[in-house]
Structure formats: C-alpha cells, structure tokens
C-alpha cells in the first residue's frame, strides 16, 4: 500500500492537468453545440492552430511564453471570426449530415496545410526557465509546468463561469441556448452573439491547444487523433452546459492517465467502453437536460 499512495497522487495530478487542458479546449465546442446546434467536428483544428502559434512564436521569433499564449488565444479567435462569417454561418440551418461533412472537410484542409508548413514531425515546446523543473508541495515534487497548467486553467475556468453566470453577455448566451427564437424576439442580436461566442470558444480552444502542447503533441494529425477525446468530453458532459464538460473532462483526464499507468496493454480501450456505457445510460450526457 505504501507504494500505491504516491502513484495515486501522481495519476490524479497528471490526470487533472490533462483534464484541465481537455476542458479548456472542449468548452467552446459544448457552447457551439448548445447555442447553435452546430456539430463542429473541426474544433480540434483551432486547438492545433493555437499549439502551432505558440511553438512558432517561441522558437522562431523568440516571443516570451506568456505573450505567445496570449497570441494563440487572440490569433485563433480572430481567425475563427472570419471562418464563422464566411463559412459556418451559411450552414447553421443545414442538416446534421452537411455540417458533419463540411467540418470533416475543414479537418482535411487543416491537416494538409499543417503538414505543408510544418512537416509531419511533432513540434517541440520550449518552456521558459521558470516553468521547468520541479515544484515541491507537502514533501512531494511535481513538475512545475503541470502545476502551472492546473492553476492557470482553473483561473480561466473561474473567469469563464463568472462571465456566463454573472454578466449581461452571459445572460444573453444562456437565454439564446434555452430558446433562440425568444431571445431574438426580445431584441438580442443573436447573430452577433453567435459570432462573439464562437470566437471566444475557438480562442479558448487555441489557448488550450497551446497550453497543452507539451501533453497533447502538436502534429498535423492532431484534429483527427484527438477528435474522439473532445467529443467524449462534450457528449458525456452534456451539450450546452459549462459544468458537465468540466466534470467529464476531469474524469476522462484522470481515467486516461490511470489506464496508461496501470493498464498500458489496453490503451484507451476502457475510456471508449466507459463512454459507450455512459451514453447508453444517459444519452444526453451526465449533466445534459432532456430535450
């Protein structure tokens, strides 16, 4: 039992870091789905873009790490506004199949573009000196960067929750999620709201991709390989909710780390089985509302 405790702590810690990254990436997808009913399978593209922006900014232009993080957020958010206005907005009323095909098409394009610019190799992440090394807490050592991920993501999450629960913009978003037609009829400009929310969600995905570049490798096949993870977080957590995906992301982060640690011979197999189980038990996700 003595040797079990440190490994449990370690799994919980690394799992929490992975879960936080997954949440920051996926929360935008949950909101897009809840708000616009848009199945954006290409959400991972935004995360990948964030990761590339961070690694390029640091290694080629010597931008300091905090600024590179901010660049990843802003760059992806601005880019997504163009995509949303030009392409996505034309498909809000299209069928599920068309949305799925369109976003798969975007993934193919993004994979090709990433491969063309960066090649197939994984992008190395150069961390600043103050984020490397170990951080000791209660007599144990933790990698400083993972501690930073957890703390920083928690701050982002708190800010996001405050924004949605306490601000006027958040009230408008919640109103539009509940009933879009009604929200529009009382004078909420839902079109602009969609664009802003989409940009925020995509920006967060970019930030998450950049933040987690060291955990989830940045390479051209990123949007394909991690799509299942993002979708699992959203569908298990429940669409349109903020809290559901948070719990789901933490569970999946910890479960995935635990599986890789104790049952490496099974790979991600238990996660998928558990997902199937949860979705059959509660098709709307753990915290989803019945429609």
């Amino acid at each position: 039992m003595e040797s079990l405790v440190p490994s449990i702590v370690s799994v919980a810690f690394h799992g929490a870091a992975l879960g936080m990254v997954l949440y920051v990436i996926s929360v935008g997808l949950s909101v897009t789905l809840g708000l616009m009913g848009f199945a954006n399978l290409a959400h991972g593209v935004f995360a990948m873009a964030g990761g590339y922006i961070l690694t390029t900014a640091i290694s080629r232009f010597g931008v300091p790490f905090p600024l590179a993080l901010a660049l990843a957020f802003v760059g992806v958010a601005v880019g997504s506004v163009f995509l949303e206005r030009l392409l996505y907005s034309r498909l809000y009323t299209a069928s599920d199949l068309e949305q799925v095909l369109f976003t798969i098409g975007l993934i193919f394009i993004a994979v090709a573009v990433a491969r063309f610019i960066y090649g197939t190799l994984q992008q190395p992440v150069v961390l600043p000196r103050y984020l490397t090394g170990q951080f000791s807490l209660l007599g144990r050592d933790f990698p400083t960067y993972r501690v930073f991920i957890i703390v920083f993501s928690a701050a982002i999450v708190a800010l996001l929750w405050f924004g949605v629960e306490r601000t006027r913009w958040g009230a408008m978003v919640r109103a539009a999620v509940d009933n879009r037609a009604m929200a529009q009829s009382i004078g909420i400009n839902t079109k602009r709201l969609f664009t802003l929310t989409f940009a925020l969600g995509s920006g967060l995905a970019g930030l998450g991709g950049a933040l987690g570049a060291e955990i989830i490798a940045i390479q051209p096949t990123y949007p394909f390989e991690n799509l299942v993870y993002f979708l699992v977080v959203v569908s298990v957590g429940g669409l349109g909710s903020l809290r559901g995906p948070f719990v789901a992301a933490l569970i999946i982060g910890v479960a995935d780390t635990a599986c890789k640690y104790w049952l490496p011979q099974f790979g991600a197999f238990p996660i998928y089985l558990a997902t199937i189980g949860v979705l059959l038990w509660r098709p709307m996700g753990l915290f989803g509302r019945r429609v």
């Binding site: 789905l33 199945a39 392409l87 034309r90 498909l91 299209a94 599920d96 199949l97 068309e98 799925v100 095909l101 369109f102 798969i104 098409g105 975007l106 993934i107 193919f108 394009i109 993004a110 994979v111 090709a112 573009v113 491969r115 063309f116 394909f224 799509l227 299942v228 979708l231 699992v232 959203v234 569908s235 669409l239 011979q265 099974f266 790979g267 991600a268 197999f269 998928y272 089985l273 997902t275 199937i276 979705l279 059959l280 098709p283 709307m284 996700g285």
Partner: protein, 324 residues
C-alpha cells in the same frame, strides 16, 4: 431520371443501369494494367453502397462505418493467415457473418439514440475495435499489419493471378450480387419505410411502423455488406493494415459517397470511381496537396453541390430538357 428508388417507383432495371457493368467489363479487357486499381474501386463501390443504404436512405449519420469493413477484413485475414482456412468463399462468408453479428449488436444498442450521441457512439465503437486490433498483435499483427494471407482458387478453379484478373472478376461478381440485393431493398416497401423514417421519423411512428427494428435491420444488412467488402479487400491485397479501421478511412468513404451523390444507388458507383482514380494519379505526384484537395472538394460540395456529381448531372439534364 433519379434512381433513388421508392415504393412507387418502377422497379424494372432501365438500360442506363447496365452501363456500369459494361464499363467494368470493357475496363477488364482494355486496361489490363489497371486491374488492381479496378478491383479496389469495385470493393469501395460495394463499401459505399452499404453506407448509402444507412446514410442516404435511412438517414443514420455514422462516422464509424469502417468498424464493419475492418472487422470483415480482419476476420478474413485471421482465418487465412492464422487458422489455415484458405477457401475464399468461406472467408467471405465468415467476414459477412462477423459484420452482421457486430451490426446487429451495435445497431440494437446505438440506434436507440440520435444526433450527436449516435455520432459519438459510432465513433467510439470503431475506436474500441481499432484499439483491440492494435493491441492484440499476436492475432492481428498490430501496427505492422497482418501478412501471410493465403487465398485458394475461387470454387477450386480460378486461381488468384499476379495480374489481378481473377481478383477483378471475383470482386465484380460479388459487387453485382451486392448491388442486386441493395436495389431490391431500396425498391421494396421496406426501402420505402426507410426513406419515410429519414424524412419524418415522427410520422412513421404515428402510422404504426416499427421504426426502431427496421433501423436495426437495415443497419445489420449494411454492416454485413461492409463486412463482405472488408473481406474482399483482404483477399485482393493479401494484407490487412490498421488503417482499415481508422477514422480517416471512414472519412474517405464518406467523401466518396458524397462526391457521387448520397441517397441514390449510383452515387455509390460514381464517387469511388472518381475519387480512387484521382487518388491514383494525384496522391503519388502531389501527396502534400491530396488531403487539401479532398477537404476543399468536400467543403465545395456541401456549399454548392449538395447532390454530388450525379446531382450536377441531374441539374444539367433538367436545364437541357427545359430548353428544348
């Protein structure tokens, strides 16, 4: 002239419907150097037909159809390479049975859900199979793939030759049977009830149709056909790789079907022909641009030409008919 079937449509085979078979036979005699590509096209036509049945006709959106294709491929491969069963028809029957079994089990489970949940479940099932195939490497060869597939002569008479002549005709024969079966289904009352469910599931319930069981049935039929296509793929390549189960492969299949035209039998014929021939030419010369090309094509088709190639043909024909 939309060959989209339906209960009220005339079920007789019209003359243009023989064209694909004439083209295939002409290709066999005129282009002997391209028979392996031809066999690949035939396999993907069968695979696309199976997807069209559930996606185009029944309206079940799936991202995980490669599960059944991959299972069929691995069952045929494992029988041939590990269990010493070399008769191709036995391998194919086993692939079909495996596809059907997985189809009915997973179909009965996942078809209770819809929308994103359904999409997610299809993806998760394929991921589970991919993980199994990857990790059970003493059976499947894991990431190295399964080689050493032995295929005996078809019916004890027709040996698989290195030029791919037997393989081509064998695939053509299987595809013909598959096409005939799918066509029968589409023109039957059962087929009409599938289209009805796609258009308005609530009304189908209201008129007393057992919607759920019909969906499970068509899903199982589709999985069976996909399993057969997977088995054919193993037999003609004499190799099984992990990619048969990947999300990319399911995505490519979707692209082929959409390109041809979804919800119509011959969309499943036209799409793979265009896609695979283009891939054969372009992917070798410009591998970097290939995925860019598919992605752009997919986006353009969704934006501007939702009926695919055959949809464009229809529109052009309609305009000509109007003018004359």
């Amino acid at each position: 002239m939309r060959h989209s079937g339906g209960y009220s449509a005339d079920p007789r085979i019209r003359w243009p419907e023989w064209l694909p078979w004439l083209v295939a036979l002409a290709g066999f005699f005129l282009l002997p150097d391209y028979l392996s590509l031809g066999a690949r096209i035939l396999i993907y036509v069968l695979y696309a037909l199976s997807l069209d049945l559930i996606l185009g006709y029944a309206g079940i959106i799936t991202l995980g159809h490669s599960a059944y294709f991959g299972l069929g491929a691995y069952v045929a491969g494992i029988l041939a390479a590990k269990a010493g069963v070399s008769d191709p028809l036995v391998q194919l029957a086993a692939a079909a049975a495996a596809g059907a079994l997985l189809g009915i089990i997973t179909g009965a489970i996942i078809l209770r859900t819809k929308g994103l949940t359904l999409l997610m479940l299809t993806l998760a099932i394929t991921s589970v199979l991919l993980e199994i195939a990857n990790k059970a490497d003493n059976l499947t060869g894991g990431a190295d793939g399964l080689s050493g597939v032995v295929v005996a002569p078809v019916l004890g008479m027709f040996k698989f030759d290195i030029f791919g002549k037997t393989a081509f005709l064998y695939c053509l024969a299987v595809l013909f049977i598959g096409w005939w079966a799918v066509r029968r289904i589409i023109y039957s009352p059962f087929g009409a009830s599938l289209t009805g469910t796609r258009e308005n599931s609530l009304r189908m319930h209201a008129i007393g149709a057992p919607v759920y069981w019909r969906m499970v049935l068509v899903y199982t039929v589709s999985a069976t056909i996909a399993g057969i296509a997977g088995g054919l793929n193993t037999q003609t390549n004499q190799f099984v790789g992990l990619n048969v189960l990947s999300f990319e492969s399911a995505g490519e299949l979707l692209v082929m079907l959409i390109l041809g035209g979804v919800g119509r039998i011959y969309g499943a014929f036209v799409g793979p022909v265009f896609y695979l021939i283009a891939q054969d030419y372009l992917a070798k010369q410009f591998p970097e641009y290939w995925y860019l090309g598919i992605g752009t094509m997919l986006v353009l088709v969704v934006m501007f030409a939702r009926g695919g190639i055959l949809g464009i043909v229809d529109a052009v024909l309609a305009r000509i008919a109007k003018r004359s």
